[in-house]
């Protein structure tokens, strides 16, 4: 096992460097963008004097490099600073938002990932027969309809017409788990529909790819049933592409659900980042960027390690 541990250590060390590089890139990006936070705060009511006054107070007149390194040293010591726009503590605001985002992503993932893989296995088992066609058609249709549209339709029929779940998915600390789950039922449904097809299709394709191998034939000749062959022999050998696609979709659930957050008024990270990018609130954008980068880098690392562990030839390199 020890090469894996070395690999993980190596990757973790590299990740730190990557995170710093990502933060530098994001900072440079926000510097390139036209406009600054003072202008965005005052908006249409900006006057030259009020702009100058606000810039001075927010420290926007310091050179960019100074500002970046100030931020970096702060961040390394765990101090993310305060938002320029409303003076709130960034760590606290993000903590709240992030826990909301993870809550939603967790429930969406726990439903969609097993469901997608199961549907993929069923599709392989009944390949080219009606269950396969039906699963493919339904999941493909749901993935190709813009997510806000699925949201509107569910909202209208389930929340307005039937009144089963609220259309506004606002959650708060005072709510019990059950109340929270009820509140996020609709966004979880939409997210499940949105991510299902990709993972299901990849499961199906990757397993079909290995179904031609000699060992599958052996297993079949041994008299194993269709499902046993697929689940025990084909699936483990098809894991690398599947796990990569699953990780991509998990990342999407964490960083990419802005539209769903807007439609269901869910206080998550996506909208938080978009608002602060719009206002050029650099410290907040940096902090969000750092977290999102960590999510991608972390999930990619997990995907790579799972791929290695699943393949004996990679697990024990010659």
């Amino acid at each position: 096992m020890h090469p894996i541990i070395i690999l993980v250590a190596q990757r973790l060390a590299l990740s730190t460097l990557l995170l710093i590089a990502a933060s530098a890139l994001i900072f440079a990006g926000t510097m390139i963008l036209p406009g600054d936070v003072a202008q965005s705060i005052l908006g249409q009511s900006a006057t030259p004097e009020s702009l100058a006054n606000l810039r001075e107070e927010l420290g926007l007149n310091d050179p960019p490099l100074t500002r970046y390194f100030d931020w970096l040293f702060g961040a390394l010591q765990g101090d993310l600073g305060t938002a320029l726009t409303n003076g709130r503590d960034i760590a606290e605001s993000i903590g709240q938002r992030m826990s909301n985002t993870l809550f939603l992503a967790f429930w969406a993932a726990i439903i969609s990932v097993p469901l997608a893989i199961m549907l993929g296995l069923i599709a392989v088992r009944y390949k080219d027969r009606w269950p396969d066609k039906l699963i493919s058609a339904v999941t493909l249709a749901s993935i190709s309809i813009p997510e806000f549209l699925i949201g509107y339709l569910l909202m209208y029929f389930i929340a307005v017409k039937l009144g089963w779940f609220p259309s506004v998915a606002m959650i708060g600390d005072h709510m019990s788990l059950l109340q929270k789950l009820q509140a996020i039922a609709l966004p979880v449904m939409v997210l499940t529909l949105v991510v299902l097809a990709h993972m299901m299709r990849m499961t199906r394709a990757a397993i079909l790819n290995v179904m031609q191998s000699a060992y599958i034939e052996t297993a079949e000749l041994k008299g194993l049933t269709g499902f046993q062959v697929i689940a025990r022999h084909a699936f483990p050998n098809a894991i690398a592409p599947i796990v990569n696609v699953v990780m991509l979709n998990l990342a999407y659930l964490v960083v990419g659900v802005v539209v769903i957050e807007v439609v269901f008024v869910y206080p998550g990270m996506g909208q938080y980042l978009v608002d602060h990018v719009a206002k050029r609130d650099v410290p907040v954008v940096q902090a969000c960027g750092l977290i999102f980068a960590a999510v991608y880098i972390g999930l990619n690392m997990v995907a790579d390690i799972v791929s290695i562990l699943a393949n004996p030839r990679l697990r024990h390199p010659k």
């Binding site: 005052l42 909208q271 608002d275 206002k279």
Partner: protein, 529 residues
């Protein structure tokens, strides 16, 4: 007819008739909708407000970057929240008249240079501190001094001096201004303890409700201010929530499923469809806000008035009101003033869509035929991209090559508006003509987004400002309006209505031309049956 109306009013008071029924029957009797609306509210009020409950407002226009510092407000959600906890010196009511809030009474000197505001006796901030004239002066200072970051800085310019005299706050202007109290009704100028110098974000004011919790971009929760100076006559709810609902469909769904009691900015396209839904009504009121296309008159090719006139004749105003606003608005006349303003001259002829005239002016302008780029964004005003597409089509019919360019919403107000020579924009209007013209058409105005710089116009504006004879004032304003209409860089196709949708549970709602949700005071004036 009177008897019938009285009878109907009685039914309403007894809770036996809904608003929709009342409005329908009143219309059948030939009563105008505005009249009927007021009568209904009166009748409902006669039943006496019911105390208690929670009032939930679903408001478009909130971000997670919002703050409670009034100086930095520019979108609807923080303004709506601010109306709950804070008050200005005076307010402009639904009829366009001034009413005292923190100020009990006020008077101007004969030359309208010096204004004295007497603070309401015994009025307290929500932290228990009594409001003093010093607090008022400090507030004005914070918004107008040289370190100010306030959005009101451009509004209250030209203050010569301020002082406190007993229980009175006195301000002297450099030039007489008959409309000064209207300017001080600006939403930024919430009176705060020590003017908000020590803690601008405290959300401590004299409003009917007190801020209890604030999640920017999500919601604000308020409880009733037990010491509200207005006493039992106002603010009937125990608590109020201002919920940010930026998505139009999410707003209507929240109202229809009973998660909020009132919403603003109903999409004009679906207003009629929504009105058919049970248990709610769609309410609209014409306001002073307008959707515009603005040209810089000092930049080629828009420096040629012939080209400006060509474009003005090439826009189909009726079609815009019909298709973009679905009739929820009024036709513009290339001047920023409409009948909602006092001293409006309705004899100014309406400019019509006339492709032949447009083509003629276009030919006279000698433009080289290269595409004229019109910049727009979804955020410029609701439907701005569609409006630009309509404009492009009608201009094409007149042989004018217009090219629409969609800009990102992100950075539109800093990079396109007031920077690019031709773009779509939005003005929310001002309570009086003087303020509207002074804000965007005076040569020295910061927001002169058409670069309209005419000394004779400036002189007329100042003359009208200190003119106390209304007839003369109206005449001057009429001339100014004509000047902007015929020579300015403003293409004004439409004035938009405020469109709210209100749950039928809510009683006492009267549309207010100052803004949506009774200018965010629905929580103060309404109650739930």
């Amino acid at each position: 007819m009177n008897e019938q109306i009285t009878h109907m009013a009685g039914q309403v008071t007894a809770g036996k008739m809904t608003r929709r029924e009342f409005m329908g029957k009143a219309a059948a009797l030939g009563v105008s909708a505005a009249m009927a609306s007021t009568m209904f509210a009166d009748a409902a009020r006669a039943a006496g407000p019911v105390k208690g409950g929670t009032f939930k407002m679903g408001v478009q226009g909130g971000e997670s970057t919002n703050t409670q510092d009034p100086a930095l407000w520019s979108s609807d959600v923080p303004i709506a929240g601010g109306q709950q906890w804070g008050e200005t010196l005076v307010e402009v009511n639904g009829k366009g008249e001034l009413e005292g809030l923190v100020a009990e009474s006020w008077e101007g000197s004969a030359d309208a240079k010096t204004w004295r505001f007497k603070v309401r006796q015994g009025i307290e901030f929500s932290n228990g501190k009594t409001v003093t004239p010093e607090d008022i002066m400090r507030t004005m200072e914070r918004h107008t001094n040289e370190d100010s970051q306030s959005g009101a800085l451009g509004i209250v310019q030209g203050i010569e001096s301020m002082r406190v005299d007993g229980d009175t706050f006195e301000v002297t202007m450099e030039i007489g201004n008959a409309d000064l109290p209207y300017l001080l009704a600006d939403y930024h100028l919430k009176i705060q303890p020590d003017g908000g110098f020590d803690d601008p974000n405290s959300a401590v004011g004299t409003g009917p409700y007190v801020l209890e919790s604030d999640e920017p971009g999500v919601r604000m929760q308020f409880v009733r201010n037990p010491n509200y100076w207005g006493g039992d006559a106002f603010a009937h709810y125990d608590s109020v929530e201002v919920i940010t609902l930026n998505d139009a469909t999410a707003r209507t769904a929240a109202l229809q499923s009973g998660q909020v009691d009132i919403i603003n900015r109903v999409e004009p396209k679906i207003a009629q469809l929504l009105d058919r839904a049970p248990n709610l009504s769609v309410q609209n009121v014409s306001g002073r806000g307008h959707y515009v296309f603005i040209m810089h008159v000092d930049t080629a090719p828009f420096d040629a008035n012939e080209l400006r006139l060509a474009l003005k004749y090439a826009i189909n105003r009726e079609e815009m009101v019909d298709k973009i606003l679905r009739g929820y608005g009024g036709i513009g006349n290339d001047m920023p003033i409409n009948a909602a303003y006092p001293l409006f001259d309705d004899s100014i002829p309406q400019r019509e869509y006339d492709p032949a005239k447009a083509a003629e002016h276009y030919k006279k302008s000698g433009h080289d035929g290269s595409p004229i780029i019109l910049r727009t964004a979804d955020g410029a005003f609701p439907g701005a991209v569609d409006a630009a597409a309509l404009f492009q089509q009608t201009a094409q019919a007149a042989g004018i090559p217009l090219e629409v360019k969609r800009e990102p919403n992100d950075g539109y107000w800093s990079e396109v508006w007031n920077v690019q020579p031709f773009c779509a924009s939005y003005w929310s209007g001002r309570p009086v003509q003087d303020q509207m013209y002074a804000t965007a058409y005076l040569s020295t105005a910061d927001w002169n987004d058409t670069r309209f710089k005419r000394p004779e116009f400036d002189e007329m504006l100042l003359a009208a400002r200190s003119e106390l004879d209304d007839a003369k004032r109206k005449e001057i304003y009429s001339k100014m309006g004509m000047m902007v209409r015929d020579e300015g860089g403003l293409i004004l196709p439409m004035f938009n209505d405020f469109i709210d949708a209100v749950s039928n549970e809510v009683q006492g709602y009267v549309p207010d031309p100052n803004g949506a949700m009774m200018y965010w005071y629905a929580s103060k004036f309404t109650w739930k049956a």
